[in-house]
Amino acid sequence: MNELAAVIPWLGTHKPRAARWVVIVLMITAPLIAAFFGRTWMRVLDFALLYVMLALGLNLVVGFAGLLDLGYIAFYAVGAYTWAFLASPHFGLHLPFWIVLPAGAAFAALAGLILGTPVLRLRGDYLAIVTLGFGEIVRIFMNNLNYPVNITNGPQGINALDPIIIFGWDISRNWQVTDNLSVNSLFFYYYAFLACVIGSVIFIQRMQVSRMGRAWAAIRDDDLAAKAIGINVRNVKLLAFSLGATFGGVAGGLFGAFQGFVSPESFSLMESIMVLAMVVFGGMGNLGGVIVGALILSFLPEVLRHHAVPLQQAVFGTVILDPEVLRLLIYALALILMMALRPAGLIPAHSRYSRPELLKAEPVPAEGRA
């Protein structure tokens, strides 16, 4: 949260306490603001929080431990399908969410361990391409495991997943306060997701300043030196990898419950790359940056979808490019330009636990606490 507060221009550097309050108020009132513009935006906001969780998890792997994972979405898929198996009519199981969600997290962590054990000795780009392959393998299996025994229902996907039910309260239903006033379920989902995100942030923050966090930083900066000072490189990497996977699994479970339908096409390579782009765009290794990156990049497509046509009509008098085309175009250009002009991300990481060369000109804040 301190990172987020520090992002706010002027206020963040001059009145950190006030900035922190701004962040808190924004967090709480965000769905109300979104609702003002229409429920679409609340839905986008809910999805954005899921992406924040994904980005936080991937940041743990890429930003902290320096392991480039291009198949991260596979863990998301594991979480979502766990929910589908344990809480949907598909197998007729309807376990409560406090069993299903941890189960999804555990399976994702297990998948992380299984994948991580052989591949983590690889470095850099090789690791990236192998994890990319792993992501595709998981998707292909989910797409095909309906024959000869039907496990995943193949490309048809699994429908009617149970929603999140807290003490008998189904948060996917609108809450009818009075006849005229009802609170939309998108609000409840927002706060449920927000709680998960806050929990993750606190956990990851603690992790980052712990012994383990420093070990990750050491490995990321110099694998060999880390080994020389007695860090068990293999185990520490594995932990980062499966912890990151765990967050993916949780996000996946929430996604399944929120959407009520899972199918393999939601877990394509493009999704992995989207999440990676969020992390890199925001600033690898910086929680605030990653959160801002995820929020911006998940809102961008929707903002374009809304404003591209009226804007073109106002400026040119006619629609030159379809909003869909424009969205892809701007997204691609944004990636390229961002990297060209600000390669360390929107909000570069603190130097204390990150790579110093990312912050060439900026002075190290003396009291900087991650």
């Binding site: 391409i129 595709e136 095909n144 790359i273 390229i336 060209a340």
Partner: protein, 310 residues
């Protein structure tokens, strides 16, 4: 037996397509250590530009023979792609040479996206039928085993290009400069090599290869489309890694091996797994092989060195 032979022929043909694309990939990766995700899309642009040129030529000079048309397609698309490769390198990649290693990768993904979107704007969303100028009438060199002239041509073209590249890299001053830059571009600069120029030339050659690959792939399958580059690009990269990244002969070999594995795997996996797996797992082979090779033999089949840029 016929079936096995036919599968081997199929594998060789798919493999030669992978090889063609992999050659360009491996050159760029070998020298820059950059996964140029956009390489497959440069290939796509090459195919579509050639298609445009061929259609135009057919309209203007209807009497032209097929070979002349292919020639016109290549003559137009190769320089277009070379220019494209140069522009991309100059504007997007060059300034990232000392950036954290993820930045160029993200840029490459962005470029790939950008090229696809531009192609969609220019050529529309539909599949285009690519004129089959090289004959596709099947021949039977062995009774029951079918192969078409265009497939043989594809195989020959990739072998020829590989030989030409090997010559350039190993026997010319340019090649020496390339190898020096690949080793360490800062030191190469100190030795009087203009590293920027060498890298730009690498990109240009890689893009020219992509253009040729695009024309061959499109004439082989008879279609061109704005997403035709991505998946073959990915598999070609796999092929390049399999053969030993940066190794030109390896790219060729990796492509062929990958093609053979895919086609024989898809043909026989059902029998081997007692009916549990089937040809829907065809796309998995590439990735499994890739993982296995990297874990057990990270230098690839013919690799000379481990790309260690972590």
């Amino acid at each position: 037996m016929e079936t096995l032979l036919q599968q081997i022929v199929n594998g060789l043909v798919v493999g030669s397509v992978y090889s063609l694309v992999a050659l360009g990939y491996t050159m760029v990766y070998g020298i820059l250590g950059l996964i140029n995700f956009a390489h497959g899309d440069v290939m796509m642009i090459g195919a579509l530009v050639a298609l445009q040129a061929i259609l135009f030529a057919q309209k203007m000079w209807p009497s032209l023979g097929p070979l002349a048309l292919v020639g016109i397609g290549l003559v137009v698309s190769i320089p277009t792609c070379m220019l494209l490769g140069y522009v991309v390198e100059r504007t997007a990649y060059r300034r990232l040479r000392n950036a954290p290693r993820l930045a160029p990768l993200i840029t490459a993904i962005g470029v790939s996206f950008l090229l696809q979107t531009l192609a969609m704007i220019i050529w529309g969303r539909g599949y285009h039928s690519f004129p089959q100028l090289i004959s596709t009438v099947p021949m039977q060199p062995i009774e029951g085993v079918f192969v078409t002239p265009v497939q043989i041509t594809t195989l020959l073209v990739s072998a020829g290009l590989m030989a030409a590249l090997l010559l350039v890299v190993n026997k010319t001053p340019l090649g020496r400069a390339m190898r020096a830059t690949a080793e360490n571009h800062r030191v190469a600069s100190l030795m009087g090599v203009d590293a920027n120029k060498i890298i730009a030339i690498t990109f240009i050659i890689g893009s020219a290869l992509a253009a040729i690959a695009g024309v061959m792939v499109a004439s082989n399958y008879g279609i061109a489309h704005y997403t035709m580059g991505f998946l073959p690009g990915l598999k070609a990269f796999t092929a390049a890694v399999l053969g030993g990244i940066g190794n030109i002969g390896g790219a060729m070999l990796g492509g062929i091996v990958l093609g053979l594995v895919e086609s024989i795997g898809a043909g026989y996996i059902e029998t081997w797994s007692f009916g549990f797996l089937n040809s829907s797992y065809q796309d998995i082979f590439a990735f499994i092989i890739l993982g296995a090779v990297l874990i057990f033999r990270p230098t690839g089949l013919l690799g000379e060195r481990v790309a260690d840029r972590a």
